[in-house]
């Protein structure tokens, strides 16, 4: 896909995000479908896409639960969450933002934003890797999903990921600080 085409598509998705923050009902359902279709068109498989939606869906479910507790249950907010997530992540997949961010000059107003996005991308990859290793290690010790020790070990694994993430963040910050970047 040509760069101009990519940028035009990303702009259309950004417009979709703006629309999704105000729309409801069928328009929101349409935005969700367009977001999912954009991911698939950008080369993402349906199964990985659905997997990546699990935490967002859990968050949306928590929002519904909180709304229900406060007596204002509705479907708009969780749908909006899904739509904005799908459209914005699709826009990030389509735009070659990594190379653009890497080319920004320190004089540019977007320099800090570009560096921040690269930090986030790098740190997310580290976090995903740490989580994968921790949960693999847990699965070697606990071979039943439910039962004795499974929830304790799950809590332990989550805490370990959190601790490791903090330690890695500290070292990453120190390394950038030594290089004079931050």
């Amino acid at each position: 896909m040509k760069p101009g085409m990519r940028i035009a598509l990303a702009a259309a998705l950004a417009a979709g995000i703006a629309l999704a923050t105000r729309a409801d009902g069928l328009l929101l359902a349409g935005a969700i479908l367009i977001g999912a279709a954009a991911h698939v068109a950008a080369g993402r498989g349906l199964v990985p896409l659905i997997r990546s939606l699990v935490p967002v869906a859990l968050f949306a479910a928590a929002v519904v639960a909180l709304q229900w507790l406060s007596g204002t249950a509705g479907y708009t907010l969780p749908m909006r969450t899904l739509a904005v997530f799908l459209l914005s992540t699709a826009a990030f997949r389509i735009v070659p933002w990594e190379s653009a961010a890497g080319r920004l000059s320190p004089e540019s107003r977007l320099y800090a934003v570009g560096l921040f996005l690269l930090f986030v991308r790098h740190f997310s990859a580290i976090l995903i890797d740490e989580s994968r290793r921790t949960f693999q290690a847990r699965s070697l010790c606990v071979n039943r999903k439910f039962g004795r020790g499974s929830f304790t070990s799950l809590a332990g694994a989550v805490a370990a990921v959190f601790r490791r993430a903090l330690a890695r963040a500290e070292r990453f910050y120190a390394a950038q600080s030594i290089s004079g970047i931050v």
């Binding site: 000059s105 320190p106 890695r168 070292r171 390394a175 290089s179 004079g180």
Partner: protein, 229 residues
Amino acid sequence: MEAVLELSGLRFGYGSDLVLEDVSFRVGRGESVGIVGANGAGKSTLLWCVAGLLRAKGNIRVFGEAPGSGTRGRVGMVFQNPEDQLFMPTLIQDLALPLINAGVSRDAAHRAAMERLREFGLESYAGRPATQLSLGQRKRAAIALALMRRPELLLLDEPTAELDGRGVRKLTETLAGIDTAKLIASHHLSFLRRVTTRALVLSAGRVIADGATETILADEALLERSGLV
């Protein structure tokens, strides 16, 4: 020999747990010094204090100054995990970034980065992200990155950790070609024998021996006492 680093009575602890206690030594210009010690002896903490990343009690002078923002450009550090240092979309961008950030033009920074990659035999990986390199290559790239601002003191934290034999050999050759003063924390004794001329033995946060690397590493009783063999 002019000192690039001087420490006297250095103390550092987390709460009431002292990690470093009364650490004193000096490193001369161009000198290559190994810090040996068992796991938890305080080697990494010592490097972090020298780099100004941790605030310790006592006296630390890096080029005659207290470590901090004034000494940052003159001190380079290679972390145990190169992923902590390399994060840009391509390797050449990783190496050019500290220069660009310091105000050097993009073209000049990229030229300098390419030259450094060539020096380290990594020029064919310039356009790739660091994640596509082997661990040994990433370690060498991290050293190349630390050298970009031409530091006068290079700190290396466990540079051989997780490296295979060939990786260690390549790293040894790379470090032998760098005439910057080096402080290398490691418990890889044969590696230190090849890349340092002097060694300090750290045990439970204290320097218990300081001398020629050959002499220190030949002292079986000392190595046994400090948990190295």
